[in-house]
Amino acid sequence: MALSATATRQSSRNPGSGLLLGFLGSMNLAITLLVTVGIASIVGTVLKQNEAYQNYIIKFGPFWFEVFNALGLYDVYSAAWFLLILTFLVLSTSTCIYRNAPQMLHDMRSYRLNVRFSSLNAFHNRHEWRTNSTPAALLASLTPVVQDFGYRIRSEQQGDHLIVSGKKGAINRLGYLFTHVAIVVICLGGLLDGNLPLKWRAFTGDIAIETRDIPASEVPPASRLPVTNPSFRGSVSVPEGSASDMVFLTLRDGYLVQPLPFTIRVKDFRIEHYETGQPKSFESDLVIDDAERNEPLEATIAVNHPLLYKGYAIYQASFGDGGSELELRLWPLLGADGTPRDIAGAVFKDLELDTSVGKLQLELTNFRLFNINPVQEEGKEKTLRNFGPNFSFKLRNERGEAVEYENYMSPVTMDGRDFYLSGVRYEPAEPFHYLYIPVDAQGGIERFMQFNTWLHDLERIQRIAGETAAQSLPESKADAPELAAGLTQSMVRLVTLFAARGFDGVVEEVEASVPEAEQSSVLDAYLKVLQTMLAVMYAELLTENGVDLTQGISMQDSVFFDDALTAIGALGSYGAPLYVQLDSFRHIQSTGLQIARAPGKTMVYIGFALLIAGVFCMFYVAANRLWFWIDTKDGQTRVLLAGSGLRHQRDFEKEFVRLQQILDARFS
């Protein structure tokens, strides 16, 4: 872009347009624009683009949110000012080409025979010979040598001297043209595929961005784009067995609906896994129904293998649950009636529940078939293990407060024991805290639930407490009814305390009601009594379930007892009056498709080809020139050889020296 010489020439012809061209084509403008594009691009990478506006408000506060929003920083790359800079860059580069191309093309063809001796003599690379050969003989002698060096030559007798001019690597100049044309072509193609027209129409109010979360069928026409829209990039999530004839384009803080001229049905979505559990492939079987086709088109897409149909590219972009159907069993955790209730639901559907603490809304949010989690067991290396299916839900009370849960369907083995896992969290940002419900001898959850119910069954507790109190009192005091009644009462009280708030509840009770000095001894006594009472209840439960206790309690049942107590103790902070167990499911996945239409792609690719060709021409084709000035001086023939290499002076120097050596030998 060495422009100064041409600029003056043009400005003398037409001062007005010359000034404009001079400005547009100036290197300073180009550099300024490039630097601005660079800085804007950096801003775009540092500030996460196209997030939900809510996140930005939280991050920057309302004031700066507005400022940044006005500057278009949440979508820098399609902000009006950014596109304007790109447009100017295209203009600037085009001007540069317009002004330099003719000269360069001329240079490529020209042999520049009209050189003066003095200018040749001023070259850095030059050599002079004096010989007795005739100019014609010299010409004949040097021609094959110079041609062998790859030069094309022309010679001309000009008055008293013969001039021979050689050039090679003229396509180096094409390199300049190719690269600069490529930039223009790529930018134009890119602008064509960008959402420039869309932005404009949103700006003029021709289309309205929809910000509400409503079904696609209810989106008003003002937020629907014409099916003919030539370029867009949108996405849609389609459950297996369903179909879609539209995609959603996210724009600013909302979206637009883009109808398609065909319908995409999703037959199946599959995930394959490596044996380590990491995903190996995501595939969707699609059927395209198009009125213009006689029969539907079936195709399977995968990551890196999109389907191209009528200029639309359909990509496998993501996946999720498509509304899996779940059969649930609700186990009450509070109250004496532990009868479970079965209920059918589906992901993304809400269920109304009447519970002991009032109405609750059960919102099923997700189902996952595989859950590969890292497991760190003592003394072993961290490994990945599949925990099997789980589902997530929220329980929302009438005040609108929700607690989030994540329950696993099958028991998970931890330290050799099996548990049902249920994660709970009160804030979305928190990690889940897990409740470990021990699995009974039959492999179910029933024994735990029954035991938990018993601990809420006041009648039963009173009866067992009475019996236990009577047995535990020594013979001598057996006939002291008030003593037995007192003991019974405190037993009942301890068990209900424990059932409601766990061991912590007992400790707090002691701390609140007993003088500090006696706390520890009282607590010891209380815990002993509680333990006895719980053990008696557990033994009765085992007996009722047909377990033979004559040989004492088995190791397995005893471990279950401890785990059950831990779990019941934790129920106080579980926050739910019921446990939702997943009984069976029908897995329905949804596939996330990205659909794009980019008519500028061909143009951009042509630009790419030009760019590569241009760059290699520029750097790897040496453009060299040579001149021989042959005349008669002092009765001898004088030969002046001068030459220059464009951009590769060092390499040219070597070539020049070699050429000179060879000619030395031939001329002398």
Partner: protein, 384 residues
Amino acid sequence: MTQNEILGEYRRRSFWQTLGMFDWIWALAVLAGSGFVFSRYGAVMDSYELAIMAGVTLALIATGWSWKPLRMLSVWVTALTLFAIWRYGNTLVAGETDFFLKFLFASQSAIMWMSALFVAATLTYFVAMLARAEFTGKVASAMTWSATTMGLVGLLVRWRESYLVNPDFGHIPVSNLYEVFVLFAVITALIYLYYERRYRTRAMGGFVLLVISSAVAFLLWYAFTRNAAEIQPLVPALQSYWMKIHVPANFIGYGAFALAAMVGVAWLLNDRSSFMSARMPSQDILEDVMYKSIALGFAFFTVATILGALWAAEAWGGYWSWDPKETWALIVWLNYAAWLHMHLTRGWRGAPMAWWSVIGLFVTLFAFVGVNMFLSGLHSYGEL
């Protein structure tokens, strides 16, 4: 040269005539190697992979013709890799029990040797330059060649190991940060060795190897603290033939830019101290290497970015998404485009260009590693 010789030689032979017997043996050997691979694995390669193999075969022949030492390197790398593969057989167990694998040629061991040799070569180059000891310089070159050999063996054996871990896992080892750091070290060293021979000076060696040693330091830290050397299966997004060409092309770019930056450092020292300038080639030569290297890097970086765009069009739903990695690639590209403009059309030379080239390394470094560390996006394959 006698006059007759010059006269006889003046007719420059055509390119084909300049090729000697060894050149043809080389070409045949490479073809035979590719033919063997084709006969053995052709059935499981798709047309793109076959095209890539054909391209690599031709490129290897041509590069071997124009840069002869590459042939010896290839022979050693091939021999050692085949030896290691033979020692492995069909299980990974031999990696722990076989002496040669455990201590020399299993990918981890080979890469450790590479690391050690690169660091040693760095020091040796500096000693050779400061003491102006030619023999020491030759030792340093030999060490660099050996390090490069071990690095390549490490990568190739790792390729095989990935199939031994699990046939499902098998992939070319350019898929994560650990693997590409080895690639970076090897490619930068190769570019350096080319210029070392071409300009007949070893004085730049220490400087260039310094950046390689830094890469090695990072590599070791990464391998030991994050267990990064473990072979992992490919995520679906990386399962594409594009990876085989996009990543290496990119690293020719990164390597060349890194080399240019270190030559820039050498230029600046040369400029400031007569002690250094007495021990280094002229500033003109350094400047020329810097330009050549940036031009090489720029050309390959252009190709790599375009390949990336083509890949993105197949994987992410568009040839350009303004993803942080893409955007930073553009920034790197613009930076060196500006450097080349100033060099070629404005004729800028000297200290500003040297400084610019050094700063360019930091921009490149951010695009290479920084984006993965600080920014999230689609291109998050090598997370720290």
